[in-house]
Symmetry: D2
Subunit: 308 residues, 4 copies
Amino acid sequence: MSNTIGNHLRLTTFGESHGAAVGGILDGCPAGIAVDEQLIANEMERRHDGGYATSRREPDVVEILSGTYQGLTLGTPIAFIVRNSDTRSEDYSELAGLYRPGHADFTYDRRYGLRDPRGGGRASGRETAARVAAGAIAKMILNQSGISVKATVAESATPSDNDSCGGIVECTVSGLKAGYGNPVFDKLNARLAAAAMSIPSAIGFEMGAGFEAARMTGSQYRDLWGDGFTTQTNHCGGIQGGISNGMPIVFRVAFHPPVTINQPTVCIDRDGKLHSWIPQGRHDRCHIDRTVVVVEAMAALTVADYIV
Amino acid sequence: MSNTIGNHLRLTTFGESHGAAVGGILDGCPAGIAVDEQLIANEMERRHDGGYATSRREPDVVEILSGTYQGLTLGTPIAFIVRNSDTRSEDYSELAGLYRPGHADFTYDRRYGLRDPRGGGRASGRETAARVAAGAIAKMILNQSGISVKATVAESATPSDNDSCGGIVECTVSGLKAGYGNPVFDKLNARLAAAAMSIPSAIGFEMGAGFEAARMTGSQYRDLWGDGFTTQTNHCGGIQGGISNGMPIVFRVAFHPPVTINQPTVCIDRDGKLHSWIPQGRHDRCHIDRTVVVVEAMAALTVADYIV
Amino acid sequence: MSNTIGNHLRLTTFGESHGAAVGGILDGCPAGIAVDEQLIANEMERRHDGGYATSRREPDVVEILSGTYQGLTLGTPIAFIVRNSDTRSEDYSELAGLYRPGHADFTYDRRYGLRDPRGGGRASGRETAARVAAGAIAKMILNQSGISVKATVAESATPSDNDSCGGIVECTVSGLKAGYGNPVFDKLNARLAAAAMSIPSAIGFEMGAGFEAARMTGSQYRDLWGDGFTTQTNHCGGIQGGISNGMPIVFRVAFHPPVTINQPTVCIDRDGKLHSWIPQGRHDRCHIDRTVVVVEAMAALTVADYIV
Amino acid sequence: MSNTIGNHLRLTTFGESHGAAVGGILDGCPAGIAVDEQLIANEMERRHDGGYATSRREPDVVEILSGTYQGLTLGTPIAFIVRNSDTRSEDYSELAGLYRPGHADFTYDRRYGLRDPRGGGRASGRETAARVAAGAIAKMILNQSGISVKATVAESATPSDNDSCGGIVECTVSGLKAGYGNPVFDKLNARLAAAAMSIPSAIGFEMGAGFEAARMTGSQYRDLWGDGFTTQTNHCGGIQGGISNGMPIVFRVAFHPPVTINQPTVCIDRDGKLHSWIPQGRHDRCHIDRTVVVVEAMAALTVADYIV
């Protein structure tokens, strides 16, 4: 189930960074949803651009292969692909036998016994293109129910010249009525946590008051009733017992900085021997801006899974 | 799938706080594991006791109904029940028509249209008894592979007399070799996040350096190679690309304080009318000590799911 | 997922023939269904009795442990157990090291490395008690939508004195409107086939005209339109493209005869050595009558899974 | 889960008959399998040709988009597409508002509220191209374990000029050792039944002696032990208690004849009004020969799911 997320609205993705394409199949989308191809293109553009993004230029055109007819979804699986147009595999040849520090080179090799060394393979941030394309469709589903998803950069830094920085993204889901979610293991907050933490570089997740809530007293924390089933505060982030309470769903995701920077470092080979390495080519110094739309996509897919 | 967790080692739990019993079925446990009933009893005791726990006294005896023969697991489902011996439903009669602040009374009612008002029903912390019993079996599986799980209270406070407090639990999984986990959505860290955030009162989750990692530079954060495929630091918490790297798995879970305290407050009824309410009876002022074993249980179940 | 069936209405069962109990957890049952305990008792009685059943007499009392309150389902998991009251494990001691012909003794041992030799363990027909109890609840769900399930013995024989016989059960689901089912792999007929073939001793499954349809021409087979979206014939058994067409769902399940009969035979031991064996004690000569309610239960659970 | 099959080796397919492409994602394939593209092409050719197949000529070229590197599988999802090159949508315009007899036009419309009327859309036999491509990869996995899958036409007829015929396919899986399968619901035979019955036009399934077993006595049916854990007969079809016993797995699948033939018939419209209709264009008179490789593919996928 590794590459699938969702119970009712199920996204399965595929693709290596420098293979032929990345993409996915979104199964369980309700029939009759108008497919807004411009929205998909806009979301792909939001993912692509960003303050300190790499110079790799790919158009990231999403081709839909199935599941729609005359502009409407059919209820059948929506397959989509994004061709990898700018793949220069020769850039990566020297790394084929080395494990970079902080990357998944070593862990993939231990897991599978072999790997695609070009650009991180399956473990590249390139796979988020499929998340964003599917997330755009999830937003169309949510829009029909008056639900919107909006994330912003809550915290970040300016990366120094030869270094990188991470940051925190805050996401709000508005318009979700009370009563969505499930008890015990399939809690809406648990599912949001898994969805967010599955994003490359995610390292922390919190709902509402989050880690600060651990330092509050009960009298400070508890969300007292206001008017019309609203609450006066929203420390819990809109979810109680795993089920939405009608207040906005609010969560934050922390991302660690990119680990490959323009500074000499040391790789290790299969035999455990260390090799000095000077990273070359393009490397994001900060991709927090590009991550915002990915967080939105995962939130949209997660919430839509309870709606369809 | 609401009450089931795991892909290969699958736990399905049941039970309302004041119903006949809580319990579960653990499916997918390997055959031939020696069942250490004393360990189960000890773990139940760890969950039961705690610094500021309620006075509700239940023996919490776990009865195993299936899946074992002559002290060994059979590979078939292990069903277990914990009878609810100390159920005083009259305590809760006045709350049948009211939604307490900060509890799941309202959200369950919106989700299902009716609920068991006695002691929180399915949304009670009572359901963690089933997690702990199953977690004990998961630990027996892990022990066979030399893997141990140990959590501690990383941060807490002393609750004031009529108030409550939360805290932070840190958990370490030691002995897990490199190569466990999966790419993209089924990442080990994503699964740990979901497992932890499904615990009642959990409000935040972070791996390794966590939220602090968002404020580091890449040169500070990146875990450089040390000897023998270890890393000099463990900011990532032992997981790269969703797959274990052989370093200890380290994560923290933040818990908000109990929301029902011995202070007057206001409930709301089905018609949206507010009612003053003075909580009576037993209420934990702090259950962070009792939560430690629950965190361990969820970690053990999650990791064992990749081992079996 | 071995012991779980269903996507939305999910039944997980447990229990060895001579362990403490058999039972299960039914998750996903809608809230607000009136639980008819008499219907459950009646269904258990239908399973228990039968023309040539064994003399093993157990009351088969179903105890519901969770998921109901004041006679209504809560939407939370319904756990139920049936104690094994008449377990005489000494009857089976001689068989502990032997594999009987036609039974699962050998295959379980190869699968798990060990097994519970008492009465077939998990592979006993005893496990169908959990199917029938859960099937009774599924029927309550279906009844609310005007759907009924009725099976009969379509074909059987009179077993000779020291021999056994099988038979064919035909099942009809009435009242299911058009539009239930799913494309491709999750077809209603595919799911019915899996559910039926999972019953102990099931050896064949067919929809509508079944194997005879393979010998018809298209002009004979095709179900021509009648009035009001009905069809003049129902050779397809009420399903097209995996989705119900509003006609009755009709299928048949073939069951092979019981393989243990009162005649001398030969067992094999772990070392491959043959041993003569004269079966003693109770053995069904024909359990086709008892199987009818099990077929109904599996049909009810399968159809209800698409309804909830 | 509609368009996904398998627990460990999971195939998700997509595609309408006259959309851009059909294809799928095969997740869970072990790493390091040599991809034999010629075998895939051969299997596609076996599916494409057949005694009385339609004149629709498509090359059915399978393009693999991910999951392989330098000719080996990576353990990551293998996505593949087959472009629909010969789509003449104008052929189907007159049918947009009509439901043909015996097809899924009506049921899809009831299920989804709209449909792609071109060539049956998702309900076309065209979707089996994805099954066959994935099945070819499953065969590569099985080959590594010495397991082979071979199906033949067991029974068929010669279609008369303006009529059609069905038939029966028998499939044998050789080389599967004892001990594969699972108890109760996830039985190997139950999973084979679901896989086979999900093939378009499948109407019956039986293991080993099948429906004839229902007419045998126990002394005739029971498979007595032979040498070396073999059995003297194989009436059960190689599976006991849902688990392989080391004998060949043998099953048969019955297929009804194609329902659209070159004879006048009557369609129904959305308002329930009948319209006479003379089918034109290409229609298979018998596709039993083409179905053989599809049955093999489903068997290979099902068995491989227990192997990976």
